[in-house]
Symmetry: C2
Subunit: 226 residues, 2 copies
């Protein structure tokens, strides 16, 4: 039986590429997706469709609502949005502090439960180095923490926090995914999709994708998603 892996799957370009990498490595993949109150459920739909297309052992969805909580943190304590922008470059309305810490913690719980040692996360620190929770020192610290907070420490093994995109630029991520057969029309990154879930094509997130596809002589296939 092939080893199991957990892949944190948002439905965005990066995490779907990560899923393809895990599959190429012949893991039985448990995809872990989060519905934490993000505005656009299209992202979750993309995660489901990509998981079905690429093939996973199981698709897990964890739901919790941090939207109101995040908002109350922003409003009740008069934390101005610029203060967040200072550290994160650009903060989507659904920004949640320590989000990757929460996601990786659930990923560790699932991995421990199903007997997986590899946890894939599509962080990369090339395009948005402002996010502390996408940087290698955080990932390494989390690896230690996950080992010490689970039965791994008593059994003398380690979790492998796999970050295959860590040092890739968006264009390189897309090249990697295309080489693995990823269908990027089933990925979603846009902040302002239309009511049918199609990307707007001109927000910052769309812009980053479009530019990367353009470098490869392509049009972002999500723009023509049906």
């Amino acid at each position: 039986m092939p080893p199991k892996a957990v892949v944190l799957l948002s439905g965005g370009l990066d995490s779907v590429t990560c899923l393809a990498v895990a599959k190429k490595e012949k893991f039985d993949v448990h995809a872990l997706c989060f519905d934490y109150g993000q505005r656009h459920k299209i992202e979750i739909n993309c995660a489901r469709r990509s998981a079905a297309k690429i093939g996973v052992e199981k698709f897990h969805l964890i739901q919790f609502d941090l939207r109101q909580w995040g908002a109350s943190a922003l409003t009740s304590d008069q934390l101005a949005v610029p203060e967040f922008q200072e550290y994160h470059g650009k903060v989507p309305i659904t920004y949640v502090p320590a989000r990757n810490l929460i996601f990786l913690s659930f990923g560790t719980a699932l991995a421990e439960g199903i007997g997986a040692r590899d946890i894939f996360i599509g962080v990369n620190s090339m395009d948005y180095s402002g996010y502390p929770d996408c940087r290698p020192p955080f990932i390494e610290a989390f690896r230690q923490c996950a080992r010490l907070g689970t039965k791994a420490v008593d059994e003398h093994w380690e979790f492998n926090i796999r970050t295959p995109l860590q040092h890739l630029r968006k264009r390189e991520i897309i090249e990697l995914g295309l080489s693995l057969g990823v269908d990027y029309s089933l990925t979603h990154s846009c902040y302002n999709p239309d009511p049918d879930g199609r990307p707007c094509g001109h927000c910052d997130s769309c812009g980053l994708r479009s530019a990367a596809f353009a470098e490869l002589g392509m049009t972002d296939p999500a723009l023509t998603r049906k």
Copy 2:
């Protein structure tokens, strides 16, 4: 304005004592409680009532359901319960791998959001040393991880993961709480409460409490909770 602290509050004897310690230190406390599918909602009621009695700035409840997920991890992969028992001594039916990692991650997110640096958790490794996520090395690793995964790292400050009960036995925890005026009738630890939420008085969890109160010449006040 006093500094803020996040207190992870389950409604059990330990976490309520922790809350009293944080209050004694003059923090403005944000209590953080989790409804993750545990069988007995009485625990959450106890958390709310204790928070109201001791006094908190705000009571936050995060809901997610890991019950089915945990069950599926146990069943779909034929992980026998004895395997868990080997590492955790005694596993309640609501046992979730990496639970304190998840709880502390949400605590970190809340702390970052509200501008708190102190996060209290009522772990102790005296009575149940089998839980890796209650031991000092895990707590220290988490502290590093929380710093590196949030704006703390860029601002050059640290989260303080406060574990005032770490090296106390149950009896000492109760003595500490009583000295701070904790009403232990409003705490819940029993695995098998009656339909009104009263503790059974003879499960292992009740036994540990009862013995500790008995050492102090007392009857566990939760047994006569109205």
